[in-house]
Symmetry: C2
Subunit: 395 residues, 2 copies
């Protein structure tokens, strides 16, 4: 077991903590670029409360609104220009994963003279990896991506039909202000997608790592069990603040390094999904819900022991031994049933996507990321034919 871990983000967690936003932001700057999405935070009243708190603390607010789902590099460019023009010295992300991801890249792009698309890894030879960014405060309004407490961001380029990522230390938010009350207004389907998203973050690390990480496995299973216990409660009753709190913390922990350190070896489901959603602009977690079970059935054949462990510890199934593929597959079936039960699609046909571009998705995924031998990093590493096979199984 070999790894390095570092995560300097400070967490302030609890219902009713939004009014502390101004005091926290003021520790880092006095002119905030406030980044939001399509306006749901305005309709819910969250926006007004956040602005009031910032103004009460003497923080000037420059608004960058309209960040779209699957946030685009064009929005990043616009936000960075706004930050520069208005001499912003701090960025506040008030929204879901798209808003937080865009805000990270805006925070770095504001201090970078080149085009920010050059910072996004998309298979180009020379990526510009920034070493500085404006301080960022994240205020998530959705329990899903975990972006509030990590240094990753996923950005789309509609001109080139690409969706890819960046991940570097200067993107860690200074503070994640997590008020579960802000997630009360999230509709049922988005709540369910968030649960799927956070579980998929965990399964990627759990199944693709080098193995021999028993404590990380326990943590991963803890996140999944918690999400499966409280996710349906939050979906059934959006005002269940306890359930909202528990899935929000689970979503953060799913991707802040606590589960994956020493255990991660690739994010194949995410990488494949990014390509598909670059073409179709589907909800990220909907794509994950479709691809993940199909990928699991593929991977279980070479790594049955880990899938048996999953079946036993998550679903209480009993195996005949660590090579019991039937038990492994039964666990995957149960997982897929869970995704269906909370309202996620589990086949591309549920979204009206046919198989006509499957080879393109596979080629494009491998163009953006491969291990140098033409395979997608994963356990097992995936050839183009493997990716095609998984996608066909998910039609």
């Amino acid at each position: 077991m070999q790894f390095e871990y570092s995560n300097p983000t400070r967490v302030v967690f609890g219902a009713g903590t939004l009014p502390r936003l101004g005091e926290i932001v003021r520790q880092y700057g006095s002119r905030a670029l406030l980044v939001i999405g399509g306006g749901s935070v305005k309709r819910s009243g969250i926006f007004d409360k956040a602005v009031q708190s910032l103004k009460d603390a003497g923080v000037a607010v420059i608004l960058c609104d309209g960040i779209e789902p699957n946030p685009r590099i064009s929005s990043v460019r616009r936000g960075a220009a706004l930050a520069r023009e208005n001499k912003c010295d701090v960025v506040v992300a008030l929204g879901g994963g798209s808003v937080m991801d865009a805000s990270k890249v805006i925070a770095a792009a504001a201090l970078y003279d080149g085009d920010p698309w050059g910072m996004i890894y998309h298979g180009q030879p020379n990526v510009h990896i920034p070493t500085e960014a404006l301080p960022l405060i994240t205020v998530p309004t959705l329990a899903a991506t975990g972006s509030e407490m990590n240094c990753g961001a996923v950005i789309s380029n509609s001109e080139t039909t690409e969706k890819s990522f960046m991940s570097t230390a200067c993107l860690y938010p200074k503070v994640a202000l997590m008020d579960p009350e802000l997630t009360i207004s999230v509709p049922q389907n988005q709540t369910a997608f968030g649960v799927c998203d956070l579980i998929t973050h965990v399964t990627e690390a759990y199944f693709n790592g080098p193995g021999n990480t028993p404590l990380q496995d326990r943590f991963a299973e803890g996140v999944i069990l918690t999400a499966m216990e409280y996710g349906p409660k939050a979906i059934d009753n959006g005002e269940d603040l306890d359930a909202r709190s528990h899935i929000q913390w689970a979503a953060t922990v799913a991707l802040n390094g606590w589960v994956s350190s020493g255990a991660s070896g690739g994010y194949p489901v995410h990488m494949i999904e990014h390509t598909v959603s670059a073409y179709h602009d589907i909800t990220h977690a909907a794509g994950l819900a479709i691809i993940n079970p199909a990928w699991m059935r593929f991977a279980a054949r070479t790594n049955p022991a880990k899938f048996v462990q999953f079946a036993e510890r998550i679903f209480g199934l009993k195996s005949k031994g660590s090579d019991d593929l039937d038990c492994a597959l039964a666990g995957i079936d149960r997982f897929e049933q869970f995704l269906k039960s909370i309202g996620c699609p589990t086949r591309f046909s549920d979204l009206g996507i046919d198989g006509s571009l499957i080879e393109t998705y596979a080629k494009e995924t491998l163009r953006i990321i491969n291990d140098g031998n033409g395979k997608l990093p994963a356990r097992p590493a995936m050839s183009e034919a493997d990716i095609v096979g998984v996608l066909k199984a998910a039609l």
Copy 2:
């Protein structure tokens, strides 16, 4: 669920990483106070390797040796004076919890003109809480206290028969360099005490918190299950590097905030043990092994549900319901049997300590820390009579 979490310590984990010490330390300074204990690191050859790595990186080494178990404030004073006289700009702790705890206070005391005992909370009205310290790199040689990745330190004062703590942000190590190979030479009994120590850190948070922290519970259970699986393997075969790795990481995670955030409400077993070991200079974890089961039997009567959960999830027992005290107590019996099985004492008589000072321990514990109403913070809060009752049950 309300909490704040922050832990900026960077972790470099893996067998064979010790030679990176110099390169890491050089990022923070060029004149290192190297703090060690009684000399076991010299006998094992670890000391020479560490010094070589530091010198190769151009780091001057000033040695502070002889830190004793239950480290004393007199050693802190000596180390701080050495650091000042030699203009050290970085501190390296190479040893177990005692060395790391002393190093933290030395790092702060080197920048503080007053007597460092004034920084240790011991019931005095005006504690000096430092806001700056020399950068600290921890290199643990024992899986036990978790001190390598937290901001706490426990220090004894033999002149006043007091043992107490400090905990503040400037004490976070910059880097924890964790090389499980360094723990290979730890003898069986110290390995077992380390396992007991780390489990007790987790049970304190697990049982004393406000409840309603399901994910933290899963993490706590994960640490305990991992320690109970790999602890006996490391005790049976000290050269089992996998087992050493897993208990070392478990020990770190047990007290770095990942388990306790939002879940902690007091450390009664530690607080009582500190008083006892201030009088008897016993190994900290031996005291914990004796007091913890007795405390659990006391606490289970007011909080049976959590102890039933412990019995079910850790030992696979089946309860008749969340108020099944018999099941709760059976789980505690199983836990005590585990401690015995790895060679820990579970009664004061095992250490030759009689009951003559029990009232003194109780009074002194409450003098050092109480909730303002004369009770020890815990679930349930403990009166003097409660503490006496627990100690009597452990004779």
